[in-house]
């Protein structure tokens, strides 16, 4: 392929985000390598390794813009640190507190047979299932 930015370019345009050098670089790191879970610091480190000059502030801004645009999902499993998930399909997670690792669980692998009725005036936006792992088997 001769257009290394083609895919993410379309993605950004589709989301109505101006395709700046920084956003393109981060988008490539995020979306060109299959599903992944990154923290801001982690993505910042990735961008450094990739020689993309992006400031940490821009990493934060960009992660939130991508999230607002529906390109990413924020996953909160640990106090004081946010993960961003490039898998935006309906799905759930294993979380290993020992390693800080998140692993996707396809929603088809979790059967929620019944759910309670939300408080009146509210509706269910989303159901997040986090399966916390521990020690060893």
């Amino acid at each position: 392929m001769d257009r290394p930015y083609g895919k993410v370019l379309d993605k950004l345009r589709g989301a109505g985000l101006r395709p700046t050098r920084q956003r393109l670089a981060l988008a490539r790191l995020l979306f060109d390598s299959g599903d992944q879970h990154v923290t801001a610091e982690h993505l910042y480190a990735l961008s450094k390794s990739a020689d993309a000059k992006v400031s940490l502030a821009t990493v934060y801004n960009t992660l939130h813009q991508f999230k607002e645009a529906g390109l990413l999902r924020e996953v909160v499993v640990e106090p004081g640190r946010s993960y961003f998930d490039t898998n935006i399909d309906n799905h759930h997670h294993f979380y290993d507190p020992q390693t800080g690792e998140l692993i996707d669980i396809p929603s088809s692998h979790v059967t929620l047979a019944s759910l309670p009725t939300p408080p009146s005036g509210k509706k269910v936006d989303r159901v997040d299932v986090v399966v916390r792992l521990s020690g060893s088997d």
Copy 2:
């Protein structure tokens, strides 16, 4: 009742925690009013209203000690803020991002018909279901 501290005193002793003035005061605020969800700042504010002189640092330390001792459960639903839940039974939560409010869901109201197998060498510690609420019905 003539022993306002009796119940929580036993609770602290049972957990192997020295019943100091501060721990007793916080334990009363936490456990003498039915199930509740508090943040550190919230409990700190409560302790002030109750004229219990407890520093914020001690509130944080105490919440974590209570958690270690199994008297509380930590619930993370929002980046940058931890909730502590006095309900330590197996259960789940509604979360309203608009108000920051957590509402217990008895585990009997959520049927998890199937769960995926954890990665080898790991076992399931706990399954947390968070039902995120949105706007209005």
